[in-house]
Protein backbone atom coordinates (compact mmCIF):
# COMPACT_ATOMS: atom_id res chain seq x y z
CA UNK A 1 0.00 0.00 0.00
CA UNK A 2 1.27 3.44 -0.81
CA UNK A 3 -0.10 6.92 -1.06
CA UNK A 4 -0.64 8.37 -4.51
CA UNK A 5 -1.61 11.82 -5.69
CA UNK A 6 -4.22 12.42 -8.34
CA UNK A 7 -6.50 15.09 -9.71
CA UNK A 8 -10.27 14.82 -9.70
CA UNK A 9 -12.23 17.60 -11.42
CA UNK A 10 -9.12 19.74 -11.31
CA UNK A 11 -8.72 19.30 -7.56
CA UNK A 12 -5.40 17.85 -6.34
CA UNK A 13 -5.79 15.09 -3.76
CA UNK A 14 -4.10 12.02 -2.40
CA UNK A 15 -5.33 8.55 -1.58
CA UNK A 16 -4.11 5.04 -0.89
CA UNK A 17 -3.49 2.95 -4.00
CA UNK A 18 -5.85 0.25 -2.72
CA UNK A 19 -8.76 2.71 -2.65
CA UNK A 20 -11.16 3.22 -5.52
CA UNK A 21 -11.87 6.53 -7.23
CA UNK A 22 -15.37 6.75 -5.73
CA UNK A 23 -14.18 6.68 -2.12
CA UNK A 24 -11.22 8.96 -2.63
CA UNK A 25 -13.53 11.47 -4.34
CA UNK A 26 -16.11 11.25 -1.57
CA UNK A 27 -13.46 11.74 1.11
CA UNK A 28 -12.64 15.00 -0.63
CA UNK A 29 -16.20 16.17 -0.91
CA UNK A 30 -16.81 15.20 -4.52
CA UNK A 31 -19.96 13.15 -4.90
CA UNK A 32 -20.30 10.69 -7.76
CA UNK A 33 -23.81 9.30 -8.29
CA UNK A 34 -24.36 5.57 -7.60
CA UNK A 35 -27.27 3.19 -7.16
CA UNK A 36 -25.82 -0.30 -6.83
CA UNK A 37 -22.90 0.70 -4.62
CA UNK A 38 -23.35 0.16 -0.88
CA UNK A 39 -20.68 0.58 1.76
CA UNK A 40 -20.23 -2.61 3.75
CA UNK A 41 -20.84 -5.08 0.92
CA UNK A 42 -18.83 -6.03 -2.17
CA UNK A 43 -18.82 -3.84 -5.27
CA UNK A 44 -21.06 -4.81 -8.19
CA UNK A 45 -20.29 -2.32 -10.95
CA UNK A 46 -23.64 -2.80 -12.66
CA UNK A 47 -25.53 0.51 -12.48
CA UNK A 48 -22.91 2.38 -14.53
CA UNK A 49 -23.90 5.72 -12.95
CA UNK A 50 -20.48 6.21 -11.41
CA UNK A 51 -18.72 6.10 -14.79
CA UNK A 52 -15.98 8.70 -14.98
CA UNK A 53 -13.53 9.87 -17.61
CA UNK A 54 -9.87 9.16 -17.00
CA UNK A 55 -7.47 11.14 -19.15
CA UNK A 56 -5.53 8.92 -21.52
CA UNK A 57 -8.12 6.16 -21.49
CA UNK A 58 -10.52 5.87 -24.42
CA UNK A 59 -13.05 4.00 -22.28
CA UNK A 60 -15.13 5.20 -19.37
CA UNK A 61 -14.37 3.60 -16.00
CA UNK A 62 -16.70 2.74 -13.13
CA UNK A 63 -15.40 4.77 -10.17
CA UNK A 64 -16.55 2.13 -7.65
CA UNK A 65 -14.22 -0.55 -9.00
CA UNK A 66 -11.32 1.46 -10.42
CA UNK A 67 -8.38 1.89 -8.11
CA UNK A 68 -6.60 5.24 -7.97
CA UNK A 69 -3.07 5.47 -9.27
CA UNK A 70 -0.28 8.01 -9.29
CA UNK A 71 -0.84 10.98 -11.58
CA UNK A 72 -4.35 9.94 -12.53
CA UNK A 73 -6.52 12.77 -13.93
CA UNK A 74 -10.23 12.11 -13.46
CA UNK A 75 -13.31 14.03 -14.53
CA UNK A 76 -16.57 13.03 -12.86
CA UNK A 77 -19.13 15.49 -14.16
CA UNK A 78 -18.66 16.37 -17.80
CA UNK A 79 -21.63 17.14 -20.01
CA UNK A 80 -21.21 13.79 -21.76
CA UNK A 81 -21.31 11.87 -18.47
CA UNK A 82 -24.38 13.81 -17.34
CA UNK A 83 -26.14 12.82 -20.56
CA UNK A 84 -25.29 9.16 -20.13
CA UNK A 85 -26.42 9.18 -16.49
CA UNK A 86 -29.74 10.70 -17.48
CA UNK A 87 -30.26 8.04 -20.14
CA UNK A 88 -29.46 5.23 -17.73
CA UNK A 89 -31.88 6.47 -15.09
CA UNK A 90 -34.51 6.98 -17.80
CA UNK A 91 -34.00 3.35 -18.79
CA UNK A 92 -34.68 2.27 -15.21
CA UNK A 93 -37.94 4.22 -15.15
CA UNK A 94 -39.10 2.56 -18.38
CA UNK A 95 -37.99 -0.90 -17.28
CA UNK A 96 -40.22 -1.15 -14.22
CA UNK A 97 -43.46 0.44 -13.06
CA UNK A 98 -42.36 3.32 -10.86
CA UNK A 99 -45.27 5.40 -9.63
CA UNK A 100 -43.96 7.68 -6.88
CA UNK A 101 -47.35 9.00 -5.80
CA UNK A 102 -48.52 5.61 -4.56
CA UNK A 103 -45.12 4.37 -3.40
CA UNK A 104 -44.46 3.72 0.26
CA UNK A 105 -40.93 5.03 -0.22
CA UNK A 106 -42.04 8.34 -1.74
CA UNK A 107 -39.51 10.97 -0.57
CA UNK A 108 -37.28 8.24 0.83
CA UNK A 109 -36.18 6.72 -2.46
CA UNK A 110 -32.72 6.79 -3.96
CA UNK A 111 -34.06 6.43 -7.51
CA UNK A 112 -36.31 9.45 -6.96
CA UNK A 113 -33.41 11.43 -5.46
CA UNK A 114 -31.24 10.47 -8.40
CA UNK A 115 -33.75 11.75 -10.93
CA UNK A 116 -33.96 15.06 -9.00
CA UNK A 117 -30.20 15.31 -8.90
CA UNK A 118 -29.91 14.63 -12.64
CA UNK A 119 -32.83 17.02 -13.34
CA UNK A 120 -34.90 14.44 -15.20
CA UNK A 121 -38.24 16.10 -15.90
CA UNK A 122 -39.59 13.73 -18.54
CA UNK A 123 -38.92 10.29 -20.00
CA UNK A 124 -38.27 10.22 -23.74
CA UNK A 125 -38.07 6.43 -24.10
CA UNK A 126 -41.31 4.47 -24.32
CA UNK A 127 -42.47 2.83 -21.08
CA UNK A 128 -42.38 -0.95 -21.22
CA UNK A 129 -45.18 -1.52 -18.66
CA UNK A 130 -44.09 -5.04 -17.75
CA UNK A 131 -46.39 -7.30 -15.78
CA UNK A 132 -44.69 -7.78 -12.41
CA UNK A 133 -45.77 -9.37 -9.18
CA UNK A 134 -46.07 -8.31 -5.57
CA UNK A 135 -45.11 -10.88 -2.94
CA UNK A 136 -46.77 -10.12 0.40
CA UNK A 137 -46.45 -13.65 1.78
CA UNK A 138 -43.85 -12.71 4.41
CA UNK A 139 -45.13 -11.79 7.88
CA UNK A 140 -43.12 -8.60 8.17
CA UNK A 141 -42.12 -7.45 4.71
CA UNK A 142 -43.37 -7.05 1.16
CA UNK A 143 -41.50 -7.40 -2.13
CA UNK A 144 -42.90 -5.36 -5.01
CA UNK A 145 -41.11 -6.37 -8.22
CA UNK A 146 -42.55 -3.33 -10.03
CA UNK A 147 -40.15 -1.09 -8.12
CA UNK A 148 -37.08 -3.36 -8.24
CA UNK A 149 -34.11 -1.94 -10.17
CA UNK A 150 -32.03 -5.16 -9.90
CA UNK A 151 -29.16 -3.41 -8.10
CA UNK A 152 -28.52 -6.64 -6.14
CA UNK A 153 -27.88 -4.76 -2.88
CA UNK A 154 -30.35 -7.07 -1.10
CA UNK A 155 -28.66 -10.16 -2.55
CA UNK A 156 -25.23 -9.02 -1.42
CA UNK A 157 -26.26 -7.97 2.07
CA UNK A 158 -28.20 -11.22 2.57
CA UNK A 159 -25.30 -13.32 1.31
CA UNK A 160 -22.29 -11.46 2.67
CA UNK A 161 -23.57 -10.06 5.97
CA UNK A 162 -26.46 -12.28 7.05
CA UNK A 163 -25.04 -15.39 5.34
CA UNK A 164 -28.45 -16.64 4.22
CA UNK A 165 -28.36 -16.00 0.46
CA UNK A 166 -32.15 -16.07 0.28
CA UNK A 167 -32.22 -13.74 -2.74
CA UNK A 168 -30.80 -14.15 -6.19
CA UNK A 169 -31.55 -13.13 -9.76
CA UNK A 170 -33.32 -15.62 -11.98
CA UNK A 171 -33.24 -15.44 -15.76
CA UNK A 172 -31.13 -12.96 -17.66
CA UNK A 173 -31.32 -9.78 -19.69
CA UNK A 174 -34.58 -7.87 -19.64
CA UNK A 175 -36.26 -10.97 -18.15
CA UNK A 176 -34.08 -10.87 -15.01
CA UNK A 177 -36.06 -10.94 -11.80
CA UNK A 178 -35.34 -11.07 -8.10
CA UNK A 179 -36.39 -14.39 -6.55
CA UNK A 180 -36.19 -15.99 -3.13
CA UNK A 181 -34.89 -19.55 -2.88
CA UNK A 182 -36.41 -21.76 -5.59
CA UNK A 183 -38.62 -18.92 -6.83
CA UNK A 184 -41.10 -19.58 -4.06
CA UNK A 185 -43.15 -17.15 -1.97
CA UNK A 186 -40.91 -15.19 0.41
CA UNK A 187 -43.09 -16.27 3.32
CA UNK A 188 -42.30 -19.93 2.59
CA UNK A 189 -38.58 -19.33 2.34
CA UNK A 190 -36.62 -21.94 4.29
CA UNK A 191 -33.49 -19.78 4.35
CA UNK A 192 -34.83 -16.30 5.23
CA UNK A 193 -34.08 -15.30 8.82
CA UNK A 194 -36.45 -12.29 8.69
CA UNK A 195 -33.54 -10.07 9.72
CA UNK A 196 -34.71 -7.21 7.49
CA UNK A 197 -31.27 -6.20 6.25
CA UNK A 198 -32.42 -6.51 2.64
CA UNK A 199 -35.23 -4.05 3.31
CA UNK A 200 -32.81 -1.49 4.76
CA UNK A 201 -30.40 -2.00 1.87
CA UNK A 202 -33.04 -1.59 -0.86
CA UNK A 203 -32.70 1.83 -2.54
CA UNK A 204 -36.33 1.97 -3.67
CA UNK A 205 -39.75 0.85 -2.46
CA UNK A 206 -39.26 -2.66 -3.83
CA UNK A 207 -38.62 -4.10 -0.36
CA UNK A 208 -40.54 -2.51 2.49
CA UNK A 209 -42.05 -3.14 5.90
CA UNK A 210 -45.67 -4.17 6.20
CA UNK A 211 -48.03 -1.62 7.64
CA UNK A 212 -46.06 1.47 6.64
CA UNK A 213 -47.93 4.25 4.89
CA UNK A 214 -46.64 6.14 1.86
CA UNK A 215 -43.73 8.36 2.83
CA UNK A 216 -43.17 6.60 6.15
CA UNK A 217 -40.74 4.00 4.94
CA UNK A 218 -37.39 5.49 5.95
CA UNK A 219 -34.42 3.31 5.16
CA UNK A 220 -31.03 3.37 6.76
CA UNK A 221 -28.24 1.12 5.59
CA UNK A 222 -25.58 2.83 7.71
CA UNK A 223 -25.66 -0.09 10.13
CA UNK A 224 -23.66 -1.99 7.51
CA UNK A 225 -20.71 0.34 7.84
CA UNK A 226 -20.88 -0.12 11.59
CA UNK A 227 -20.89 -3.90 11.18
CA UNK A 228 -17.93 -3.59 8.86
CA UNK A 229 -15.99 -1.46 11.35
CA UNK A 230 -16.67 -3.97 14.13
CA UNK A 231 -15.35 -6.76 11.90
CA UNK A 232 -12.19 -4.81 11.20
CA UNK A 233 -11.69 -4.16 14.90
CA UNK A 234 -11.90 -7.87 15.66
CA UNK A 235 -9.49 -9.04 13.00
Amino acid sequence: MRVVTLKINGQEMSGRDDEDILHVAREHGIDIPTLCQLDGVSEWGGCRLCLVEIEGSPKLSAACVTKVSEGMVVNTNTERLAGYRKSIVEMLFTEGNHVCSVCVSNNNCELQDMSHELKIDHISLPYRYPLKEVDASHDLFIFDANRCILCTRCIRVCDEVEGAHTWDIAGRGIKSQLISDLHQPWGDSPSCTSCGKCVEACPTGALFEKGKAAGEMVKDARFLVYLEEMKEEKS
Binding site: D159, H165, T166, W167, D168, A170, I179, L182, H183, S191
Partner: protein, 179 residues
Amino acid sequence: MTARAAAKQKQIGKFPSDDKRWLIVAAVMRKYGSAQSALIETLHAVQSSFGYLDDSSLAFVARSLRLPLSKVYGVATFYSHFRLKPQGKHTCVVCMGTACYIKGSAKLLQKVDRKYGLKVGDTSADNKLSLLEARCLGACGIAPAGIFDGTVLGNLSDDLVESKLDSWIAESESVSQTK
Protein backbone atom coordinates in the same frame (compact mmCIF):
# COMPACT_ATOMS: atom_id res chain seq x y z
CA MET B 1 -27.71 -58.15 0.61
CA THR B 2 -23.99 -57.60 0.14
CA ALA B 3 -22.25 -54.77 1.94
CA ARG B 4 -21.79 -52.92 -1.34
CA ALA B 5 -25.43 -53.24 -2.30
CA ALA B 6 -26.42 -52.09 1.17
CA ALA B 7 -24.19 -49.04 0.85
CA LYS B 8 -25.74 -48.28 -2.51
CA GLN B 9 -29.21 -48.67 -1.04
CA LYS B 10 -28.32 -46.29 1.76
CA GLN B 11 -27.08 -43.78 -0.79
CA ILE B 12 -30.27 -44.09 -2.81
CA GLY B 13 -32.20 -43.33 0.37
CA LYS B 14 -30.77 -39.82 0.31
CA PHE B 15 -31.94 -39.15 -3.23
CA PRO B 16 -35.18 -37.36 -4.07
CA SER B 17 -36.55 -40.68 -5.37
CA ASP B 18 -35.37 -44.28 -5.59
CA ASP B 19 -34.70 -43.80 -9.28
CA LYS B 20 -31.35 -45.42 -10.16
CA ARG B 21 -30.47 -42.49 -12.41
CA TRP B 22 -29.54 -40.52 -9.30
CA LEU B 23 -26.49 -42.75 -9.00
CA ILE B 24 -25.22 -41.25 -12.27
CA VAL B 25 -25.76 -37.75 -10.90
CA ALA B 26 -24.01 -38.68 -7.66
CA ALA B 27 -21.08 -40.10 -9.61
CA VAL B 28 -20.66 -36.81 -11.52
CA MET B 29 -20.67 -34.85 -8.27
CA ARG B 30 -18.09 -37.20 -6.80
CA LYS B 31 -15.91 -36.82 -9.89
CA TYR B 32 -15.68 -33.11 -9.18
CA GLY B 33 -15.18 -33.63 -5.46
CA SER B 34 -18.70 -32.35 -4.72
CA ALA B 35 -17.19 -28.88 -4.98
CA GLN B 36 -19.47 -25.88 -5.38
CA SER B 37 -17.85 -25.30 -8.77
CA ALA B 38 -19.38 -28.59 -9.96
CA LEU B 39 -22.83 -26.97 -10.13
CA ILE B 40 -23.10 -26.60 -13.90
CA GLU B 41 -21.67 -30.06 -14.62
CA THR B 42 -24.11 -31.53 -12.09
CA LEU B 43 -27.09 -29.75 -13.64
CA HIS B 44 -25.99 -31.12 -17.03
CA ALA B 45 -25.97 -34.61 -15.51
CA VAL B 46 -29.44 -34.20 -14.00
CA GLN B 47 -30.88 -32.87 -17.23
CA SER B 48 -29.33 -35.55 -19.42
CA SER B 49 -30.62 -38.22 -17.01
CA PHE B 50 -34.12 -36.88 -16.37
CA GLY B 51 -34.73 -34.59 -19.32
CA TYR B 52 -35.32 -31.49 -17.22
CA LEU B 53 -34.70 -29.93 -13.80
CA ASP B 54 -37.57 -29.88 -11.32
CA ASP B 55 -37.67 -28.26 -7.88
CA SER B 56 -36.81 -31.43 -6.01
CA SER B 57 -33.72 -32.10 -8.12
CA LEU B 58 -32.59 -28.48 -7.80
CA ALA B 59 -33.00 -28.73 -4.03
CA PHE B 60 -31.09 -32.01 -3.99
CA VAL B 61 -28.21 -30.52 -6.01
CA ALA B 62 -28.13 -27.46 -3.75
CA ARG B 63 -27.99 -29.60 -0.61
CA SER B 64 -25.36 -31.96 -2.03
CA LEU B 65 -23.04 -29.18 -3.17
CA ARG B 66 -23.78 -27.00 -0.12
CA LEU B 67 -25.09 -24.14 -2.23
CA PRO B 68 -27.91 -21.67 -1.52
CA LEU B 69 -31.20 -22.65 -3.18
CA SER B 70 -31.56 -19.27 -4.87
CA LYS B 71 -28.09 -19.51 -6.37
CA VAL B 72 -28.86 -22.91 -7.90
CA TYR B 73 -32.16 -21.60 -9.23
CA GLY B 74 -30.41 -18.50 -10.57
CA VAL B 75 -27.82 -20.55 -12.45
CA ALA B 76 -30.43 -22.99 -13.78
CA THR B 77 -32.48 -20.13 -15.23
CA PHE B 78 -29.52 -18.07 -16.45
CA TYR B 79 -28.35 -20.66 -18.98
CA SER B 80 -30.73 -21.30 -21.85
CA HIS B 81 -29.64 -24.92 -22.18
CA PHE B 82 -31.31 -25.85 -18.89
CA ARG B 83 -35.03 -26.60 -18.90
CA LEU B 84 -37.29 -26.43 -15.89
CA LYS B 85 -40.23 -28.10 -17.61
CA PRO B 86 -40.48 -31.57 -19.17
CA GLN B 87 -40.15 -31.80 -22.93
CA GLY B 88 -42.29 -33.69 -25.42
CA LYS B 89 -41.40 -37.18 -26.62
CA HIS B 90 -39.76 -35.76 -29.72
CA THR B 91 -37.89 -32.49 -30.02
CA CYS B 92 -37.36 -30.35 -33.06
CA VAL B 93 -34.72 -27.64 -32.72
CA VAL B 94 -34.48 -25.06 -35.48
CA CYS B 95 -31.24 -23.12 -35.74
CA MET B 96 -31.67 -19.34 -35.65
CA GLY B 97 -28.04 -18.46 -36.33
CA THR B 98 -27.31 -15.69 -38.83
CA ALA B 99 -26.69 -17.95 -41.80
CA CYS B 100 -29.83 -19.95 -41.10
CA TYR B 101 -31.84 -16.76 -40.57
CA ILE B 102 -30.62 -15.32 -43.88
CA LYS B 103 -31.66 -18.58 -45.52
CA GLY B 104 -35.14 -18.48 -44.06
CA SER B 105 -35.22 -20.37 -40.74
CA ALA B 106 -37.62 -17.78 -39.27
CA LYS B 107 -40.04 -18.51 -42.11
CA LEU B 108 -39.76 -22.24 -41.35
CA LEU B 109 -40.81 -21.54 -37.77
CA GLN B 110 -43.75 -19.45 -39.01
CA LYS B 111 -44.90 -22.37 -41.17
CA VAL B 112 -44.65 -24.78 -38.25
CA ASP B 113 -46.69 -22.38 -36.13
CA ARG B 114 -49.34 -22.08 -38.82
CA LYS B 115 -49.63 -25.79 -39.47
CA TYR B 116 -49.10 -27.28 -35.99
CA GLY B 117 -49.89 -24.31 -33.77
CA LEU B 118 -46.52 -24.53 -32.05
CA LYS B 119 -44.33 -21.58 -31.15
CA VAL B 120 -40.71 -21.78 -30.03
CA GLY B 121 -40.57 -23.22 -26.52
CA ASP B 122 -43.98 -24.87 -26.84
CA THR B 123 -44.75 -28.52 -26.28
CA SER B 124 -47.84 -29.91 -27.97
CA ALA B 125 -50.80 -30.65 -25.71
CA ASP B 126 -50.37 -34.40 -26.14
CA ASN B 127 -46.69 -34.13 -25.15
CA LYS B 128 -45.62 -35.64 -28.44
CA LEU B 129 -43.57 -32.78 -29.72
CA SER B 130 -41.50 -29.87 -28.44
CA LEU B 131 -40.33 -27.04 -30.67
CA LEU B 132 -37.12 -25.26 -29.71
CA GLU B 133 -34.70 -22.85 -31.31
CA ALA B 134 -30.92 -22.89 -31.14
CA ARG B 135 -28.54 -19.95 -31.17
CA CYS B 136 -26.16 -21.36 -33.76
CA LEU B 137 -25.39 -25.00 -34.36
CA GLY B 138 -22.21 -24.11 -36.18
CA ALA B 139 -23.54 -25.96 -39.20
CA CYS B 140 -23.79 -22.77 -41.28
CA GLY B 141 -22.45 -24.52 -44.38
CA ILE B 142 -25.71 -26.46 -44.63
CA ALA B 143 -28.08 -23.69 -43.52
CA PRO B 144 -30.89 -23.73 -42.60
CA ALA B 145 -30.14 -26.51 -40.12
CA GLY B 146 -32.01 -28.17 -37.28
CA ILE B 147 -31.76 -31.00 -34.78
CA PHE B 148 -34.45 -33.67 -34.88
CA ASP B 149 -34.27 -35.91 -31.82
CA GLY B 150 -30.54 -35.36 -31.52
CA THR B 151 -29.69 -35.74 -35.22
CA VAL B 152 -28.48 -32.68 -37.11
CA LEU B 153 -30.14 -32.21 -40.49
CA GLY B 154 -29.17 -29.54 -42.99
CA ASN B 155 -30.67 -27.70 -45.96
CA LEU B 156 -34.10 -27.82 -44.33
CA SER B 157 -37.10 -27.14 -46.49
CA ASP B 158 -40.76 -26.76 -45.48
CA ASP B 159 -41.48 -30.21 -46.89
CA LEU B 160 -38.61 -31.86 -45.06
CA VAL B 161 -39.65 -30.39 -41.70
CA GLU B 162 -43.29 -31.23 -42.26
CA SER B 163 -42.59 -34.82 -43.29
CA LYS B 164 -40.41 -35.27 -40.21
CA LEU B 165 -43.00 -33.82 -37.83
CA ASP B 166 -45.86 -35.70 -39.54
CA SER B 167 -43.98 -38.98 -39.18
CA TRP B 168 -43.58 -38.36 -35.43
CA ILE B 169 -47.23 -37.53 -35.01
CA ALA B 170 -48.29 -40.59 -37.01
CA GLU B 171 -45.88 -42.84 -35.14
CA SER B 172 -47.16 -41.85 -31.72
CA GLU B 173 -50.73 -42.36 -32.91
CA SER B 174 -50.04 -45.90 -34.13
CA VAL B 175 -48.42 -46.66 -30.76
CA SER B 176 -51.47 -45.43 -28.88
CA GLN B 177 -53.76 -47.40 -31.19
CA THR B 178 -52.00 -50.67 -30.43
CA LYS B 179 -52.37 -50.10 -26.71
